[in-house]
């Protein structure tokens, strides 16, 4: 079984981190979503073999996670989990791209290895941005923001409900899997013939739960319409955050800061 308890703990950890109060937490959620998306967009718009121009982009996750009080170890753990999957696809690059691009002394580095490194750096940047977004915003606030930005109501309602009931269902699956493990004689993983009635039962219980939820909604006055959340206007801090970071991303995208700093320092040394 996958670690169901770990999944629940992960949700709760993120909720805890999102309920902090910091400068970043107080920024409007819509701005945070837009800045994160723009960040990811800028990162993935580089060509295959770019490495040095990508490195300055680490300033965004570093700054936001520090100001937002997200522990660095937490982000690192997530990155370590995700990295093998990116490498799995990227590992073919050194096999297929054998043009030598860089020679350091007698060591020749082919384009394949450079693009693999580029993929790894991209993964680290994009994944950390996503993790930080949800840790400084919180899922319910993100859903509200999506609604305010124009995502249709049925979908955001779906997201709210899903999040609410994941905890309930995950705990049920937890007790199912514990019960199975305690009662199974061979200790092996369950086969399809065991899995089917377990899941079928869970599905029936889930369906009946949903019907009860619907009845309780009706008895509390649900008439099929959810009230739209009022759109709060953006204040000056929000706008400064939005335009400030966007400007930085555009500058970094079209100017290689690493090379610039390198030339500056070697120029001074010479």
């Amino acid at each position: 079984m996958q670690n169901i308890e770990g999944t629940l703990l992960n949700f709760r950890r993120i909720d805890l981190l999102a309920s902090e109060n910091s400068f970043i937490h107080r920024i409007d959620a819509r701005v945070k979503i837009l800045v994160t998306l723009f960040f990811i967009f800028s990162v993935i718009s580089f060509n295959n073999h770019e490495i040095s121009a990508l490195l300055p982009f680490f300033i965004f996750p570093a700054a936001v996670s520090t100001l937002g009080k997200i522990p660095f170890s937490y982000i690192l753990k997530k990155l370590i989990l995700i990295l093998p999957f990116a490498v799995m696809i990227g590992i073919f690059n050194p096999l297929f791209d054998r043009h030598v691009l860089v020679s350091i002394g007698s060591i020749e580095i082919t384009g394949g290895w450079i693009s693999l490194l580029s993929i790894i750096i991209r993964t680290m940047l994009t994944v950390s941005a996503g993790v930080i977004l949800v840790c400084v915003t919180g899922f319910n606030t993100i859903c509200q923001a999506l609604n305010q930005m124009g995502i249709p109501q049925p979908f955001t309602t779906q997201l709210f409900f899903l999040y609410r009931y994941i905890f309930v269902l995950a705990e049920e699956v937890c007790s199912i899997s514990n019960a199975y493990r305690l009662r199974s004689v061979t200790g092996r993983r369950m086969g399809i013939s065991t899995f089917t009635p377990l899941l079928g039962n869970l599905l029936l219980r889930t369906w009946e739960r949903a019907e009860r939820i619907h009845l309780s909604m009706l008895s509390r006055g649900y008439n099929g319409v959810f009230n739209k959340i009022p759109v709060t206007p953006l204040n000056r801090t929000d706008l400064k955050f939005l335009f400030g970071w966007s400007f930085i991303f555009i500058v970094l995208r079209f100017n290689n800061l690493s090379v610039f700093l390198g030339r500056l320092i070697t120029g001074i040394v010479e």
Binding site: I40, V43, T123, L133, I142, Q158, A170, A210, I213
Partner: protein, 353 residues
Amino acid sequence: MHMSDALISPAVGSTLWVISAGTIAYCSSKIGKESDERKTPMMGVLGAFIFAAQMINFSIPLTGSSGHLGGGLLLAILLGPHAAFLTISSVLVIQALFFADGGLIALGCNIFNLGFFPAFIGYPLIYKPLVNKKSGVSPIVPAAVIAAIISLQMGAFAVVLETVASGISELPFTTFISLMQPIHLAIGLVEGVVTAAVISFVYKARPDLIRTPFSPATTSGYPVRNIALFFLVVTILTGGVLSWFASKAPDGLEWSISKVTGKEELKGPEHGIYAAVSKLQDKIAILPDYSFRNTDETVINHANFTSKLSTEEKSRLGKSTSGLVGGAMTLALSMLVGFFLRKKTLQTSKIKP
């Protein structure tokens, strides 16, 4: 594993996002006009159900590996295409945000690859028509299997197209396809079987839950015999027909060797054990290099009709024969291994006082 941002180009990401967002908007408008008000909590709770169900691993028979339910087809059968698409999308959003399972820009691609095909092609175009037939025999298992296989094949193909179009990964199209499609064939088979099994189970208890009624004639368990038969037919087809198109081009190892040494195969030493064993292998190989022996005419002339065939047809027949023979022997061998191992584990798991 869902697609990550690192392998997507902005063009591909934005295009797929536009398509997915458009489909979400379309489905949302359909749901908004939905008369069945139970839909709203139902979608949310079933989404949570699918999310939780994906965490239960079961072992796949005849192999050692484990799998988990995908859920796309199951949701489509329970909720209909539009609600199912929204539900799958919402589960993917949660996975992307909380578990970094798929990037945020790549979310558009993932929603399309994993949601669109089961909801709008697998269910309405394949499962529903097959299940609605008025025959006495319940067709859920083949219907679900075919629907799941086709949905997953199309999803996998979409992943390959998107990755290759992005140009970040150097993996060539043909190599990627040859990796993705067979794996997802197997995954689709398991998904179809499990979906059919769960639907049958649920139908016995609450027939009103299943939107497309079917006769409950054979809804007991999942017929292993039919699955094995299906496998056999596929093996025969692949070995018998598809082997004709087997490429004469060198395979990966031969290609690498030829690049390094100039030849496709390295010659072994002339004397000693290696030479003795390789002489033995030459003698006993029935179908050397996957075709009939050229030197041993007796095999071919025994069947009178083959002497009248052209060399092209002879080589095809040779390849088909090797394909079929090889396939049958592999099948028999794997069944023997599985059977033997099963006996062994049953013995070792006996409770000792």
